[in-house]
């Protein structure tokens, strides 16, 4: 059953439950969750981006950390993430059966050659968040203090915000989401891009933002991981795990993907 106005009951209306906010010693943490964009806003986004957005585009969603005193903020949103996707055909992947498909096709339709609007349709992004105001991040050797994050401090605020998702035309999955947990003295935000192109490639690109409220210290860590599908599948075949289940879940999967890039940055807000 639906309400008489036909409004989806599962999804909050704007200005109501869509926004969640918590304030913690000078930091304001906010998330927004709304349905996927409708046709009009998608057309606008397509024009601005220059590429077709993913099938499920949560263009109104965001996760944001602000420090009022310094004017510094970092936000994670779909548009900025997609703006960093390769809009040329230079880094295009091919689905697993592409070769077979192409060979058969060429026999019959040599005249159909044009690849429509080439771009990185896996929506792979190296997005580390949109930073504005305040001092800039600088490289650091200080890692995120894992020990402090492993303590079971009470979680005062938690949210998991989907930014975009695409099923790669049933050839796998590409998704970007931002998770955040706020404890009394610190917070951790994890923005994860996960891409599985079946029988071809696996990618996980994590951006972690750690904030220590007392010191105003913000650490940002970016880790990119990547491995061929077949290599991972073989490695998993030697374990007692459910291979397909692990290939769908970036948490157990990440240990099987070697790190291809890692950066560590820091900024102290006063």
């Amino acid at each position: 059953m639906s309400s008489s106005t036909g409004a989806p009951l599962d999804t909050p209306a704007p200005g109501h439950d869509a926004d969640s906010v918590i304030t913690r010693t000078g930091f304001r943490i906010a998330t927004r969750k709304l349905p996927i964009l409708k046709a009009g806003p998608i057309d606008d986004m397509t024009k601005k981006l220059g590429i077709a957005p993913p099938e499920m585009i949560f263009g109104d969603n965001m996760a944001r950390i602000e420090h009022a005193q310094s004017g510094w903020s970092i936000e994670f949103n779909a548009f900025d993430a997609l703006d960093r996707v390769d809009k040329t055909g230079d880094s295009m992947l091919k689905v697993s059966y592409s070769k077979e498909w192409q060979q058969n096709r060429q026999k019959q339709f040599e005249d159909i050659k044009e690849v429509v609007k080439p771009f990185d349709w896996s929506y792979s992004t190296d997005y580390k968040g949109s930073v504005s105001g305040g001092p800039a991040f600088t490289p650091t050797d200080t890692p995120i203090p894992l020990a402090l994050l492993q303590r079971k401090d009470p979680i005062l605020f938690f949210d998991d915000v989907m930014l975009y998702e695409d099923e790669l035309a049933d050839n796998g999955i590409a998704m970007l989401s931002s998770k955040i947990r706020v404890m009394p003295e610190r917070l951790l935000l994890l923005s994860r891009f996960f891409m599985r192109l079946d029988d071809v490639l696996l990618r996980i690109r994590d951006t972690r933002v750690y904030v220590d409220f007392a010191t105003g210290e913000v650490i940002r860590e970016y880790t990119a991981r990547e491995e061929k599908y077949e290599v991972v599948r073989k490695a998993l075949a030697g374990t007692k795990d459910d291979v397909l289940a692990v290939l769908r879940d970036p948490n157990p999967l990440s240990q099987y993907l070697p790190i291809t890039e890692k950066t560590l940055e820091k900024v102290v807000l006063k």
Partner: protein, 451 residues
Amino acid sequence: MSIGGSDLDRAIHQLRSCRPIPENQVRELCYKARELLIEEGNVVGVDAPVTICGDIHGQFHDLMELFRVGGDVPDTNYLFMGDFVDRGFYSLESFLLLLCLKVRYPDRITLIRGNHESRQITTVYGFYDECLRKYGSANVWRYCCEVFDYLALGALVTGAATSLSPTDAPLAENANIECPPDSDELEIETLNAAGEIMSRCARGYDGQSVSQPTSNPPSSSPVPTPSRTGPAGTGATSSSGGSLGNDSGAILCVHGGLSPLIDTIDKIRLLDRKQEVPHEGAMCDLLWSDPDEIDGWGLSPRGAGFLFGADIVKCFNQKNNLSLIARAHQLVMEGFKEMFDSTIVTVWSAPNYCYRCGNVAAILELGEDGSNAGYVRRSNGDQGGGGGGWILGSNVGPNGGAGNANGNRRLSSVLGERAREGPGRRYRVFDAAPQDSRGMPAKKPVADYFL
């Protein structure tokens, strides 16, 4: 045990309450269904009135909502364009219920194959795991996959009226009416789940004299935000005029779209469909291809699969005396999307897709051409019966039927006409069933100590 008569009704009753039926009943059901489906041609003939539905994807409670909004089987004649399974949590119950209804009321429900009705895809996207979880073995999955191989590849709807009789219903808030009060040519009507009129559009009406309602705030309104001319989701424009008439060309229904290997519907009929969905070729294209704003044919940037433009659709429709192609396969936020001057429409019937997209769903109702009354209902066979209906399989040909001299009333009416007038289209738009009805965990994410 056999599944027939009252057993079948019991199974339907059980599945309607979202409880799976025992494995031996599934086996029997699948056997019966195969016997039935094997008699159907690759392109099933369907008479209007009919309600056309897109992807379901195992969203059982939303399928129940669809039946509530569109009417129950057998009162309403349904055509489902595939993708019954995967993604949702209740692929098994959704598919088995549809299959039971097919076996119980074969002339009141038509099921065609989607790209997810495939062994390979279901092992990756959920249906296989679900069967294993619910039965402890892959047997049920195997039975269902055997049925998949027998599903038709398309359907051809004939006898649809070109104009709708207006629904006698209250207007929804922000209703968008582009229809002079005295118009007798209602082309498109959109209703919400409460049966209220969301929009109306008369054929050939330019809508200039009607002020567009102001845009709704993003993502807030159930009424699709209007864009360009015509109601949102529709491609209605002032160019869709044409001669008056009360029967439209036929409507081809396929899951994905067209194929460069297929220029006539007869070529679909010649395919050997009783197999796993292949990775290439005409059968693959029909289940996988997408329309796009391009000229001619294009290659998907993914390295496999075709995209087709407006000229391809218009040419195909003209050659085959079609007024419209209805397809599913792609998520559209408003539940339906007409493209290329309303020569093709995407219908999407899984609201709040994957339980998190917040999109609405739609079904498309095609009315019955009044003059069709009294015709003998054809069975779902390949070659249509006589009796003044369409002669399926012979009304198309290299000359688009123009050379066909069988005196068929409908065929003669298309002679000299550039494009067939589209059928009157009533879209019913609906939201997801409420969360509590499906025993789902609350939407609020559970806090965890992620690192």
